[in-house]
């Protein structure tokens, strides 16, 4: 009884998730081993490792891997650093704190497609966009963000979307900071930087780990933001691994190669997961 009950409570979640993982995985493994192009119906012949070879020797492959990591790294760095800064800034009560919080949190509720289109057109358009006007106001040449700095544009857009989330978690964490300890440190002559480095930052450690973990989960496979802004271009300058697989599957209709790529992405995700479990896992108990 005492063993059966917890297991049966857990079963629905475990079984559905297991199916959700294993069925597509098995199908993907099968597809990756056959020649399967949607444009050439007919027999699916055994391909061995050809699909993998093709995907990995594709000149777009390594840039896509690199860009996946660049995107992940920059967005995490930007949101964590700015999130901590903002959280410290608005932590103490001031006039309008409630409204400031509401304004700050807003981008988190915006769906990726709206977020992407808003930035692509109304912010980053070199002629009519707001940033273009700002650049002209200062007498600079407006930047054609989407064609000249495509990856950076995507990074900016994603950072704007995720900053509120990071900031909110840090604000919540700061509220449980021991104020007496801070005051005691102040009396002992610790300056603001010392207090931040030795008290605040260690206190924030766990929430920083959580922010990194959640952002990694969502940013490993960024798709909609790239799809609606740059479509991975120009060329492949803003293509990440997820988008490269998408291109293979739905633009080249090559399911075999796309599946090989998907398996590669799964391996990459698992490497990241192991790394994360080491880092965050011990914080979960």
């Amino acid at each position: 009884m005492s063993r059966l009950l917890p297991r049966s409570l857990m079963a629905p979640a475990v079984i559905t998730l297991f199916l959700w993982m294993i069925v597509p995985l098995v199908m993907t493994i099968y597809f990756s081993l056959v020649h399967y192009n949607l444009m050439q119906p007919g027999e699916k012949t055994f391909a061995g490792i050809e699909n993998f070879h093709y995907f990995i020797t594709d000149p777009d492959f390594w840039p896509a891997v690199l860009q996946t990591l660049e995107l992940l790294g920059w967005v995490i760095i930007i949101t964590v650093v700015m999130g901590v800064g903002l959280a410290l800034l608005i932590n103490d009560p001031f006039p309008g704190q409630g409204i400031v919080r509401v304004l700050l949190i807003s981008p988190f509720f915006v769906m990726p497609t709206v977020n992407a289109l808003l930035w692509k057109h109304m912010m980053m358009n070199p002629i009519y966009g707001v940033l273009g006007h700002v650049w002209k106001f200062f007498g600079w040449t407006p930047i054609d963000w989407m064609s000249d700095l495509p990856l950076m544009s995507v990074i900016i857009i994603l950072s704007w979307q995720w900053l509120p989330f990071a900031c909110l978690i840090f604000i919540t964490s700061l509220q449980s900071l021991d104020r007496e300890q801070m005051e005691a440190a102040g009396m002992d002559g610790a300056n603001a930087f010392h207090k931040f480095w030795y008290l605040t930052l260690p206190h924030l450690g766990r929430s920083i780990a959580v922010v990194i973990m959640i952002e990694m989960i969502f940013l490993m496979s960024v798709f909609a933001e790239i799809f609606t802004t740059t479509s991975g271009g120009p060329g492949n300058d803003s293509t990440n691994l997820a988008f490269l697989i998408y291109k293979q599957a739905l633009m080249s209709f090559d399911v075999g190669v796309a599946s090989a790529g998907a398996l590669f992405a799964v391996v990459l995700a698992n490497i990241a997961a192991v790394f994360l479990i080491r880092m965050v896992g011990k914080n979960l108990d």
Binding site: P6, L9, M10, P12, A13, V14, T16, L17, W20, P24, L25, M27, T28, L89, D92, I99, V100, V102, L103, P107, F108, F109, V110, M111, P112, T113, V114, L117, M122, M123, Y128, V130, L163, P164, I169, T172, S176, R206, V210, M213, I217, M220, S221, F223, A224, T228, I245, L250, A262, L263, A265, V266, A269, N270, A272, A273, I277, G281, N283, L284
Partner: protein
């Protein structure tokens, strides 16, 4: 204390400046939605508001149909998700074994698999079962993709329940359902609400599966907006009106529930 209060206005101004800077793109979107196309392009600051773009959007793409799809998929997937996740999280938090953490980590690792990797298989399955472009397909996919996060959040919430309370209830001989209803639920209702709110937001905003599994029939607002991407790209007022209509419900909802939402967003990181 006195030191802190000597320059509060600098912090106040800095905070307001940052908040407005971050909010500005949304403010701009809101303003552009009430402009004519000409005013939208010219980045005019002063204009007479018009509702033309909204009328045009509703006429052209049947906003209410997509909004209804978004509402149904996010609410049903959230309720369904809570029903599956809560027992699992309960079991993990109150019947801990050595494997508990491994199971939780395994669940989270399924969330890290890029959705695009499962696209072809899921598409094929939806096609063969005739569920392509249908609401049930989206609901199932949303539920499953939010499930790991839900289990994690609920687990964090349940874990905070003090042990002595549980033991007292168990000594009274309460069964699992009574124990949950009378002891756990009142103590963790905040965490459960917060989990539901987050998943509602995530499902409403989900774009990958909506874009790839649906078209006219079961399309959600996130997919509708993507349609305005290229052909309508230059019609900023209409794009803004459609966007505003798509995000307004969830943003207003988010504003009102933010205090509640934030409480549970700590994922056990804040003690």
């Amino acid at each position: 204390m006195s030191q802190k209060k000597s320059f509060p206005w600098v912090r106040t101004i800095a905070s307001w400046f940052c908040a407005l800077l971050i909010f500005f793109p949304l403010l701009w979107l809101g303003l552009t939605a009430f402009k004519t196309e000409g005013q939208a392009i010219a980045a005019q600051l002063f204009f007479t508001p018009t509702l033309d773009s909204f009328v045009e959007v509703q006429k052209r793409s049947d906003y209410t149909h997509y909004a209804f799809n978004s509402l149904i998929t996010s609410v049903v997937s959230t309720v369904l998700g809570l029903m599956i996740a809560a027992p699992a999280a309960y079991s993990m938090a109150f019947f801990r074994t050595k494997k508990t953490r491994d199971i939780l980590m395994w669940m989270l690792s399924t969330k890290m698999m890029p959705a695009v990797g499962a696209l072809v298989p899921v598409y094929v399955m939806a096609q063969t079962t005739g569920m392509l472009d249908s609401l049930p397909a989206l609901i199932i996919v949303f539920t499953l993709s939010n499930l790991p996060i839900m289990v994690w959040m609920l687990y964090s919430a349940f874990k905070e329940v003090p042990n002595d309370i549980l033991e007292a209830v168990r000594l009274d001989g309460a069964n699992v359902w009574d124990e949950f209803r009378h002891a756990i639920l009142p103590l963790t209702v905040g965490g459960i609400a917060s989990t539901g709110l987050l998943c509602l937001v995530l499902a409403w905003n989900e774009a990958f599966w909506s874009l790839n599994l649906t078209s006219a029939h079961a399309g959600t607002l996130a997919a509708l907006i993507a349609q305005y991407s290229s052909p309508e790209g230059l019609f900023w007022a209409k794009l803004s009106a459609a966007s505003l209509l798509a995000i307004a419900p969830i943003i207003v909802f988010g504003w009102f529930s933010q205090k509640q939402l934030v409480q549970g967003l700590t994922f056990g990181a804040v003690k």
